[in-house]
């Protein structure tokens, strides 16, 4: 039995002041089990909510009888749509300018939809009471297949919307140039066509969604505790929906057990908890269970795509895509207003194409609402999956090495900033270099030799490549808003007289390490040690307005804001230092932590002395206010464009068709890295998710719309045994427009890994079994069917 050891003090000299491998400040509470997640919070007088959900995918509600539930001694209230109607809360707006039922009144439109909300003294009683609510349903035919949603005989799902005649959720949105694309295809020497599905999957963070709503009837203050990736935006929505004053709503997100986009939407459970608290005047806690999370909260992907790609003289020249997005029963996708298909039109990829034409339309179906989630960067995952699968399909047809085709077709470094055929302006990149680093790390030549040897022995080994460019850090106010709110983030920096600082940010961590990395940005810019910089976030009362954390925007936007605000402080510090040193500001130079007189470094003012001066009664520059703080709302001039080269090696059992990911090499270029340790950690996590999506994660339905993956027994997430020891490399191509040269990386691994793995599986099976396409997930059963010559789409 081991005894414990002293806390290891890290060598002060090893700890970076600024960028570098700094161990995390937030670890202190988590390793001790002292995090404060939503379900850990208990308030005096708190009651518990539970949600009754529809067993049917599509059905009329004939009657709801809550009398037996109300008779339960521990039940305080049962809320139905009728009750919410009187409060004007039966329906709520979505981020996509649609409406969503908070509680179903006329019809249920997906299995798991919210029908009634019970409030009881404790969780167990609330769950019991659900069984005492009697609902009579009249089942209707369900729309489960996106391709059939617009058939003439498909049942109308959104009959609640005036003028809605069919199941079209969002009309066709186009990008690119159809004529130029037709020309490119006409002149091509090779064309490939594929139907490719990116199946529905789910972010499934380990902590489910929930809320405590605490309305104080005397003061009119609504306190909300909620794991939530965009607290300010939610506050604005609640003010609008509940008719409350926005400044009387406070949302506190303390610790969040993972978000991955699942904690972006406003869920009916939240509105019911708030309504319950307003009516009852006590705190109401609602925490969903795992099956509710999988069946009803924001899923990801579900794109049905038809694509064609062409090449001429060994180079990719054109791409044509026609996609159907399945948004579920309500359109609650999150993306900037002008981009109903998100950033899907980045499907032009990393290639110097002549032309591309992209069309996307969205349909309703009798499934849970959502679509934009799970580290997708607003549909970049779908786009990159498609283009990288198509490149491999084209390479297969051309009988060339898939890396070689990419190398021939990459945008060259001198072409940046590069305007793509679908309207993007990529900032910087040296793609071929990153690809080469990946090849070397993987030992690509050796792998191909090994593959040939194994093939001769009847063993199936596959090597899959993907190269991605993604666009993150939404976004410039002239192009982007969500619900009319600018996607700008704020930063408030206050340096105290002691020289220690507090920086308040809009970004909302769910594990990304913001308490450390944002302190490192201030440290880098001002020389204040990270342990002396407190990062405040997660409290709408104490942080500046911003649109939150998703789409990898923390570093590009909030990081930019913190850099800019730190420089504002540094600029003010310069003026104060000039007064202190009796020099002209132009004669001063900066070295991290101090302003000094050029040519006379002993004449210097340390930042902490400048801070003390700023608050003191001593002389300050003429006209300057005291204090040493600044505020910024940062409007990014463009998205940033991280990229990467990934190589996956898989082995497939020839008899059982079981796929093992033997190796995964990931070389990412996310510009300047604030904390390489945290960057690597983000990549590891995203690669594991990619393995899950490629091999085992799917939310599927039967013909009646019953969800077949509503628990972790059937929604399978990789364990440590399915993940190899990831091999990471890096190149660093700074972002020219970002204050720190950083691009952000959180979603890149999820963007780049599924196509690499699927390309590897097909690579293993193409020559021996003639497989030229297979949709995810590549479960043993699906791989085996492909090997028999019968690959099937997921549903």
């Amino acid at each position: 039995m081991a005894t414990t050891i002293e806390n290891l003090p890290s060598e002060k000299s090893e700890r970076p002041i600024g960028f570098g491998r700094l161990k995390r400040k937030e670890d202190a509470r988590f390793i001790r089990g002292k995090g404060t997640y939503l379900d850990d919070i208990r308030l005096p007088g708190m009651v518990y909510g539970a949600m009754l959900r529809s067993p049917y995918a599509h059905a009329r509600i004939v009657s709801i009888d809550t009398s037996r539930a109300l008779a339960h001694p521990n039940v305080a209230a049962v809320i139905t749509a009728k009750d919410l109607e009187t409060l004007g809360l039966a329906w709520m707006p979505t981020i996509s300018y649609d409406t969503q039922a908070v509680l179903a009144g006329d019809k249920v439109r997906f299995q798991g939809q919210e029908v009634a909300f019970v409030i009881a003294t404790d969780e167990y009683s609330a769950n019991d009471a659900l069984e005492l609510i009697d609902v009579e349903y009249e089942p209707l035919q369900a729309v489960v297949n996106a391709r059939k949603a617009l058939d003439a005989d498909a049942p109308l799902i959104r009959d609640d919307k005036t003028g809605q005649r069919d199941n079209l959720a969002s009309p066709t949105w186009e990008a690119g140039d159809e004529e130029a694309t037709n020309k490119a295809f006409a002149e091509a020497d090779t064309v490939v066509v594929r139907d490719i599905i990116y199946p529905r999957c789910h972010p499934a963070p380990l902590e489910t969604c929930g809320m405590i709503a605490d309305f104080n009837p005397e003061t009119g203050q609504l306190d909300i505790y909620n794991g939530n990736q965009a607290p300010h935006a939610h506050r604005t929505v609640y003010a609008h929906v509940a008719g409350l004053a926005e400044h009387m709503i406070r949302i506190q997100c303390q610790d969040i057990g993972g978000g991955f986009g699942n904690k972006v939407p406003v869920y009916p459970g939240y509105v019911c908890a708030i309504a319950g608290s307003i009516v009852a005047g006590v705190p109401v806690k609602w925490v969903e269970n795992r099956s509710e999370n999988l069946m009803s909260t924001g899923f990801a992907r579900d794109y049905v795509m038809h694509a064609e790609m062409c090449s001429k003289d060994g180079k990719i020249t054109g791409l044509r895509v026609d996609a159907i997005a399945d948004h579920g029963a309500f359109d609650s996708t999150a993306q900037p207003t002008k981009f109903p298909a998100g950033f899907f039109h980045i499907v032009c990829g990393s290639y110097d194409l002549e032309a591309a034409h992209v069309k996307v339309k969205a349909v309703y179906s009798n499934k849970a609402p959502g679509g934009v989630a799970y580290r997708c960067s607003f549909r970049v995952t779908e786009a990159v999956y498609l283009v990288e699968r198509m490149v491999d399909a084209l390479a297969m047809e051309m009988k060339v090495d898939p890396i070689e085709l990419r190398m021939q077709s990459f945008i060259a470094p001198e072409q940046f900033p590069y305007e793509t055929t679908t309207g993007w302006t990529y900032d910087s990149g040296n793609y071929a270099e990153t690809m080469r680093v990946a090849m070397e790390l993987a030992g690509y030549g050796d792998l191909r030799r090994e593959q040939a040897e194994k093939r001769a022995r009847g063993e199936l080994m596959g090597i899959g490549v993907s190269f991605f460019t993604e666009g993150v850090g939404a976004g410039p106010r002239k192009h982007m808003d969500i619900l009319g709110l600018a996607m700008n983030d704020g930063a408030d920096l206050r340096v105290h007289p002691s020289g220690k600082a507090v920086v308040s940010i809009s970004a909302q961590t769910q594990g990304q390490g913001h308490e450390t990395t944002f302190a490192q940005i201030v440290a880098e810019e001002l020389g204040i040690p990270p342990e002396d910089v407190e990062v405040r976030h997660g409290d709408t009362d104490r942080s500046p307005y911003g649109l939150g954390t998703y789409g990898s925007r923390s570093t590009p936007v909030s990081g930019g804001a913190v850099a800019v605000v730190s420089r504002k402080v540094r600029d003010k510090a310069r003026l104060i230092a000039a007064t202190m040193l009796e020099a002209s500001p132009d004669d001063l130079a900066w070295e991290k932590g101090r302003w000094y007189v050029k040519g006379d470094p002993e004449k210097r003012a340390l930042i902490e002395d400048i801070a003390a001066r700023a608050y003191s009664g001593e002389e300050l520059p003429a006209g300057m206010e005291g204090g040493l703080d600044a505020q910024v709302i940062y409007d990014p001039p463009n998205l940033t464009y991280p990229y990467g080269a990934y190589i996956a090696v898989v082995d497939i059992d020839p008899d059982t068709a079981h796929v093992t990911v033997r190796r995964f090499v990931a070389v990412d270029d996310c510009g300047v890295r604030i904390n390489p340790m945290i960057v690597d950690g983000q990549i590891h996590g995203g690669l594991a998710e990619g393995i899950g999506i490629a091999l085992m994660e799917v939310i599927s339905f039967d013909e009646e719309g019953n969800c077949l993956n509503s628990s972790f027994m059937d929604y399978l997430i990789p364990t440590a045994l399915e993940c190899p020891d990831f091999e990471l490399g890096e190149t660093v191509t700074p972002c020219p427009h970002h204050p720190l040269g950083a691009k952000g990386v959180g979603e890149s691994p999820n963007v780049g890994s599924p196509p690499a793995i699927v390309n590897a599986v097909i690579d293993a099976l193409h020559e021996t079994h003639g497989v030229d396409h297979l949709d995810m997930p590549c479960t043993p059963a699906r791989v085996w069917a492909a090997m028999q010559g019968r690959p099937e789409p997921p549903q």
Partner: protein
């Protein structure tokens, strides 16, 4: 019914319904919300605690069944202000991001090292395969546990 359970060396007694799950009993004890839950089907491992030194899923044990056994939760790892090598290893190797799976993973690691002080990478991966982490991809968790194995100090050797 009244149950009395030894948690981290203290007797915790409470009047409960027989159906109360151990994870809830633990979490309702003041200062013991470090043990989490994340699923309905005993898959995710967020609820792992030690029962008589063995890792168990506390969501799949009734509180009543735990009476008469020694339960250890994540809060027991730090002793007199000194972190357990497992905790220190997780910190050294960035083996946590959101922190939600961390208590379960650390307790699993603690039980592993108590039984197998020098596990291979494969043995570590097997040992933690009853838990899900969505954030780390497991690589750093494995490294953290190896670090802890290498930095354990046995009583006979002294600190």
């Amino acid at each position: 019914m009244n149950v009395s359970i030894s948690i981290n060396g203290d007797q915790v007694s409470r009047e409960i319904e027989p159906r109360q799950l151990l994870v809830h009993f633990i979490r309702e004890t003041p200062e013991l919300t470090g043990t989490h839950w994340g699923c309905d089907t005993s898959n995710c491992g967020a609820c792992v605690v030690l029962m008589d030194g063995k890792a168990v899923k506390s969501c799949t044990i009734l509180a009543a069944m735990a009476e008469g056994h020694e339960i250890r939760t994540v809060e027991s790892l730090e002793v007199d202000g000194r972190l357990d090598p497992v905790q220190q290893g997780f910190h050294e190797h960035h083996a946590l991001q959101c922190g939600f799976c961390t208590p379960g993973m650390q307790m699993t690691a603690r039980a592993l090292l108590d039984e197998n002080p020098n596990p291979t990478e494969e043995e570590i991966r097997i040992a933690i395969s009853g838990g899900i982490c969505r954030c780390t991809g497991y690589k750093n968790i494995v490294a953290a546990i190896r670090w802890a194995a290498e930095h354990e100090v046995t009583a006979t050797q002294g600190v």
